[in-house]
Amino acid sequence: MSISRRVFVKSGGLALFSFGLDPLFLARAAFASYRPLPPSTVFSRPILVCLFQRGAVDGLNMIVPHGDPVYYRERPRIAVPEKDVLDLDGYFGLHPRLAPIKPLWDSKSLAAIHAIGSPDATRSHFDAQDYLESGTPGVKATPDGWLNRYCQHDREHQDTPFRAVAFGPQLPRILAGTAPSLAIEDLQAFGLRAPQPATRDRLTRAFEELYAGSATGLLSTSSREAFDAVQMLKRLDPGQYRPANGADYPRGKLGKALLEIAQLIRADVGLQVAFADVTGWDTHVNQGASEGQLAGRLDELGQALAAFTRDLGERMHDVVVLTMSEFGRTVRENGNSGTDHGHATAMLVLGGPVNGGKVLGKWPGLDPAQRFEGRDVAVTTDFRDLFAEILARHLGATELSAVFPGFVADPARFPGAIRG
């Protein structure tokens, strides 16, 4: 598979349809988009968008095991009532506030992986986030993040300043490392800042001349990338962007980040890996059920993902969105109508290449005897199996041992999130 993907990448995607990728991504009715494929689709590259639910999302209330009485027994106050759950397969269902992405499930472009997590038992946010981002559970000294290591080792993709972009004030650990990657807080403010466009252009030109004439070494290459990026964005004019297909992004950081990611994808600036944080999942107190704190966060997530896929329309053909979180939460609710730090959680994968309409992974069950340390959902899928599958089958990565040192990526253990 990975070999043919490399051929695909090299040949510019001309062999697109021979891989059995269904060109009718997304049941069109769901998106009311009947436009023919734009020419850029044919030449576009696979793209991965990672959303980090920082703070440990309660996988059990996101992808609800409503077919299991233990779920209702353990969560008298915070279980999502049967009548509200959006059933997926008779046993699992979506939280009602994720209704905006239900059409993606129906069109088989959305899959969930349940009981996924880290082989390391830590319940510390700090350690678990660190392990998820470094891709080396249990090893603290890993200097770089796994997304960055992917960029270091896959040289097939052309390096553009926008190859790997994190939306936020700082580069997250997952993208830290020697491969060039950008942190962008606001596309419009990227580059030299000045109140007047004329001043801004003047400063940009002056610095560009300074660096072109006198910079050496890494300062020289980085500055050239910087000014290329500024040029590209100037042509792009992010202030004028209007989402397509009537997509309506929710207000807030996530909506803005996904809008800007969509914009970069549409602009064909070479974006391959995008990353954004979504916070507010550490629901120790007053978590809520169909309504409440967690519902509010899922509402924003669902709306933002729906707007993103609607906006990109046919371009979703080459895009995979992956949600991840450092661990899940306790099966039993706590004394404050919340949940405490647990072990396995659920992750979502959506997009054209996704083997959707399924809850993947081996479900360990909720009975106390089946739980991890008697209290948490056990991990049956190492998150690296999912990450490795997406890197290999979607992005065409070949050097997985360099991306996940000390881990043997075995296709037999891939959860099957990407269509083969």
Binding site: P143, P161, I184, L210, G280, N286, E291
Partner: protein, 561 residues
Amino acid sequence: MKNPVVWRSLVVVGACLAFVGAQHAAPLRSAPPGPALTPQDSAFHALNRLAYGPRPGDVPRVVAEGVMRWIDRQLSPDGIDDDRWAQRERRFDILKYDRGDLAALYAEAQRERRERKLAAVADTMADKSEANPIAQRGRRLAGEFADLAVVRAALSERQLFEVMVDFWTNHFNIYFAKGADRFLTPDYIEHTIRPRAMGKFEDLLIATAKSPAMLFYLDNWESVAPGSTPPAALRVRARPLFGRRPGLFGPVRDPARQDSVRRRALERMAKGINENYARELLELHTLGVDGGYTQQDVIDVARIFTGWSIERPQQGGGFEFHDWAHDTGEKQVLGVRFPAGHGIDEGIRLLKLLANHPATMHHVSRKLCQRFVNDDPPDGCVDDAVAAWKRSSGDMREVLRAIFHGPDFWAAENMRAKVKTPLEFVVSAARAVAAEPDTSPRLAQVVARLGEPLYLHVAPDGYPEREAAWVNSGALLDRMNAAVALAAGKLQGVTVVLDSLVATGDADQLIDAVNEKILGGTMSENTKQVLRRQLADISDPTQARALAVGLAIGGPEFQRQ
């Protein structure tokens, strides 16, 4: 520098002579800089490496004093008058709080946050902790503490000392945002790192091993011999040891309930050794990754440190050794036997062994040479430093002295060979324009924006010394923005005085002054031409000055040191 070969050999000859001298005589005063290096060049170089760059007037001052004499003075920070900074330091409220105060503040903020959530109406989207005044105070203090590092580096006369504080802060990295380290970090910097930044390595190593901040960061406080039970668990009174919620295990009388509390307490209790600290101690703090230790060594080191813990960690307590948690069996580390039946003493013995191990000397010396000489440190520099380490039993002042007196420090290929880190860039820029920062976290925010927020490197390896880690296109643009804003006086909380720096005059005078005072005479022809073109149509002298200074600080020459 016209003939690099001749120049280099002269430097080497000069340095060798100097070194021969060093074997016999008292500290050298003025030999190392080679004859081809002007006094201005050597002063500029020394100010860029031992200090956070020159302030206006520093280069001529160091030239007048003699660069080697200045270096010697920097090596004895206690002898440097720093009254002006001592006055300024009092404005930082954070220094009035000890770790117990900060822990109490943190606990209070947490409690208020919980209560708010409990009281919250069902459908609040996210918690609005911004509205919490106690949390706000905590955030302000944390911001102030990050800023304190930047302002100290900018204003203190004890420049080399501040550089070394930064070096050790990275070498013995902790993470400000991990649990109790939110209130333990200021104490760690002020009372563990700073008093020992230019002393014996062994003392610093032992102090970090015992510091609550490190014990918490690398989890050693929870490391116990398998099967050990705290006496407190049997009395069911051991509150903070077990969990994050002190209130959970109050005095309990009902026996049934007591049993359940005990069960829960035991459930939460650490169940065995935790190797995190042991591993990083060997790999990062001392021997280095190729230091010749095995996984079995890591395990035995972890066993030696079982029981090294924190007294009341959630209340900002200090170091405490727990006899009950200590593994008293025999251990063997690096072939050295640690006989059975010992307690805290074997940990101290091990730290002394590690501090004076040849692999440690090499590993730490190499990092110092990387910091002060070149990202790829020359072997000669490392050898000199190791030799000084042996002679002085790890006295950092002697190790540093050997580096600054060595030929590599002054070699042509190492001049301007390093790119400033975000902290070095921001501080050197502030110094270049004689900035007067207040206690607001503005400058620290710029450092964070450039990619290396203070005390917030997650992994225990600290911010790397190699430029590839921080030079990238986004951060470079942010440097340019910061430079323009700083020169224009638009960074809030930072007063900039350009008058003393550059008198207004015609463009050529302005460019010459900027070249001499900010770039130490390293301005390229290209930069001069660009500046000349940029200044051509600007008639307002203040504006012209701000533009020239902004472009110089944001430009390529200033990024190097």
